[in-house]
């Protein structure tokens, strides 16, 4: 594997980690960002972009609490 590919994989992993961290500790902000990105793609004409947008569309947010599976401690899982 070339050095360029290695850097590409590592930075992709890093981005994914940052995104997960944002989802955990800033759920509202990350939800809004995801909704914006999804809307950006879905409003394009090309079908592929629409599909990407639909895939990125965030789920309806759920308030925290044991009954609503906030997943902060995972005991409700």
């Amino acid at each position: 594997m070339s050095g360029l590919w290695q850097h590409f994989v590592v930075y992709a992993v890093l981005l994914w980690c940052l995104w997960r961290l944002a989802c955990k500790y800033a759920p509202n902000a990350s939800w809004r960002w995801r909704a914006k990105i999804s809307y950006f793609f879905e409003s394009r004409h090309a079908g592929i972009f629409k599909r990407v947008g639909r895939a990125l569309r965030p789920a309806v947010s759920i308030p925290a609490g044991c009954a609503k599976h906030c997943r902060s401690c995972n005991t409700c899982a």
Partner: protein, 609 residues
């Protein structure tokens, strides 16, 4: 598809959650003591094209709610619209072995005039005790359908399931006219008509309680049980830990032979395998500890322990009611803090929330066992006892003493003493159900592995990045990590922690460790892996034994007894107290105590050595 909404209600510890799990296929926590469920939980099942939504409600002794969890039950039963669930049917779950207590709540619910049925749970236990219940007569006397169930048996809820779907589709609302007869009298009359009780229903329970609730022998037995539990954690886990360690090392070496040297290999070897592998090794110890805790929960011994400790807890400013929330905190402080909703007195509740983070949650176990393994010799004491297990027991005791100590100090500040006497229902002893035990263990393993693959992996990768970049300038001869972002941050903060003996690597590991305590272990593994010249994974315990002094190790252990290294716990305190001020006080006093005691321990250890 037709939908039926059903709410499971009843006295605490009547088996509602076990029945809920049986009906919906869920895996909610069940235990043999009152107050396990403090929030409503929802599930559903489909049978013959009929969708049944089931709501498991916190247990309540009456509809006159006196605690936040009972409030939820009351509001849903009387038809509040705030929860988005309007039950078509109330299923009142009653313990067949304790009808005298449970039937009072049935009568109270019946007076609401809503469609309801009674699930007569634990019929197997009633049969074993010689309690003979005439279901038809009971049904007649109550005026509502009664169905026998055994929630812990494989097909124990089939009759209820079928009845919900087929027989009770159009159960009418009943007349809510209150009976003139007093509830106590009614219960007595119903019992005399439909139930024949043996003379001694709980002879074995009484015999066991004579010893287990004895003020002296009871406490001795309690401490012996806890002591043996921690001995087992060390005695039994070693072969499994060695296996996991060998597997991770093999994976690391194999990856090294497949991938060329470079940034990706460093990420995998120094970040993922070194960091996560070290944390994964503690899974066997966590599971062994929880095998004991879950088994004790199932037997019904834990409420007795609460009863035994009530006097000590009251002297320190807590009550026996705080015991169950504090016990839950041994798994994780978050459900423990939430379980304080079952405490009626707001002062007691706040005191319990404040001290709950001091109990030794399972996330501390990797830190404790890593440092004990590295610094405490694996020797026998008195020929039988493992010294490492004794030190672990000592750390847990230290946590318990801290809980009492802090509660006592809080009592000094707030002299308005609670006058709530402890009223505790002591459940019957029973053998642990292997299914529930295995579900509990599987859940613990899943929670741990999810944390490893989730927050711990995420933070370990980020820490690896911060410890690897920027690369050192050409000709730099020291460890590359010294010039990285993380290295600079660690060196910058190190003077603040120097009086308590922490080096910059420890300080660095504490930062991502704020998200979850175990991250500090993976963080240390990553930082030391990047600091060493050797590539690949090596035993973190061995590295620490060489790099740290005993004084530093003791100081770190003391820090972890007190420090609130868990953002989720802090967020839960905020949510449950609804006060930034109280949350701030909790964080400040916990960090303050951590620093103060670490300073005392470190400086004393240095002076003595």
């Amino acid at each position: 598809m037709n939908t039926l909404q059903v709410a499971l209600v009843g006295n605490p510890n009547s088996g509602k959650t076990a029945l809920f799990n049986r009906l919906t296929g869920s895996r909610q926590k069940v235990a043999n003591y009152a107050g396990v469920t403090v929030e409503r939980k929802e599930g559903q099942f489909v049978l013959d094209d009929r969708l049944v939504r089931v709501l498991d409600l916190p247990g309540a002794y009456s509809l006159n709610a006196s605690s936040p969890d009972e409030q939820i039950t009351r509001e849903i039963c009387v038809g509040s619209t705030d929860y988005g669930f309007h039950p078509d049917l109330l299923v009142c779950v009653v313990d067949a072995t304790n009808l005298r207590l449970h039937l009072r709540f049935v009568l109270e619910l019946k007076a609401l005039g809503k469609p309801m049925l009674v699930a007569l749970n634990m019929m197997d236990a009633a049969g074993k005790r010689g309690i003979d219940i005439d279901i038809d007569k009971l049904q007649q006397a109550l005026g509502v359908p009664v169905l026998p169930t055994v929630a812990v048996a494989a097909h124990g809820a089939d009759a209820l399931k079928n009845a919900l779907v087929h027989d009770l589709q159009t159960l009418p609302a009943r007349d809510s006219g209150a009976d003139a007869e007093d509830a106590h009298q009614q219960v007595r009359r119903i019992l005399s008509e439909s139930v024949s009780m043996p003379r001694a229903t709980a002879e074995l329970d009484d015999r066991l309680d004579r010893w287990l609730l004895h003020p002296v022998f009871g406490l001795l037995i309690l401490f012996t049980v806890l002591f043996l539990m921690f001995q087992a954690v060390y005695a039994w886990a070693a072969p499994f830990q060695d296996g996991i360690s060998a597997a991770v090392a093999w994976l690391s070496v194999t990856t090294g032979s497949v991938l060329p040297d470079g940034i990706l290999l460093s990420l995998l070897q120094d970040g993922v395998f070194a960091g996560l592998g070290t944390v994964l090794e503690f899974l066997p110890q966590i599971l062994i500890l929880f095998t004991f805790i879950l088994a004790l929960e199932e037997t019904g011994y834990l409420p007795r322990a609460a009863f035994l400790l009530d006097r000590a807890m009251f002297a320190s400013g807590l009550t026996g009611r705080s015991f169950i929330p504090l016990l839950s905190s041994y798994a994780c402080a978050i459900p423990g803090i939430m379980a304080t909703r079952s405490i009626q007195d707001p002062r007691d509740r706040l005191a319990t929330i404040m001290v709950a983070p001091l109990t030794t949650c399972s996330a501390r176990l990797p830190v404790y066992t890593l440092l004990i393994g590295a610094f405490i010799p694996d020797q026998r004491v008195l020929g039988w006892f493992n010294m490492q297990g004794m030190v672990l027991f000592g750390l847990y005791l230290f946590g318990i003493v801290s809980v009492f100590g802090v509660a006592w100090v809080m009592k000094r500040f707030n002299r308005q003493q609670s006058d709530h006497a402890l009223l505790l229902e002591l459940p019957s002893y029973r053998l642990p159900n292997p299914r529930d035990l295995l579900i509990g263990l599987w859940d613990r393993a899943r929670i741990f592995l999810r944390r490893v693959g989730g927050i711990i992996l995420t933070l370990t990768v980020l820490l690896w990045f911060l410890s690897s970049f920027p690369a050192p300038p050409e000709g730099y001869s020291g460890p590359a990590i010294d010039v990285s972002f993380a290295g600079r941050l660690g060196h910058f903060l190190a003077p603040l922690f120097a009086p308590i003996g922490f080096n910059w690597q420890i300080v660095l590991a504490l930062i991502p460790g704020m998200a979850a305590r175990e991250v500090a272990v993976s963080g240390l593994a990553t930082v030391y892996a990047l600091s060493s010249d050797e590539s690949g994974i090596s035993q973190l315990g061995g590295i620490l034994a060489n790099e740290w002094t005993l004084a530093t190790a003791l100081s770190v252990l003391t820090w972890y007894v007190f420090a609130p290294q868990c953002i989720s716990t802090i967020a839960t305190i905020k949510r449950e107290t609804n006060s930034w001020k109280l949350t701030g006080i909790a964080v400040f006093y916990l960090f303050g105590l951590a620093y103060l005691f670490s300073l005392l321990v470190y400086q004393s250890a240095v002076a003595l050595s």
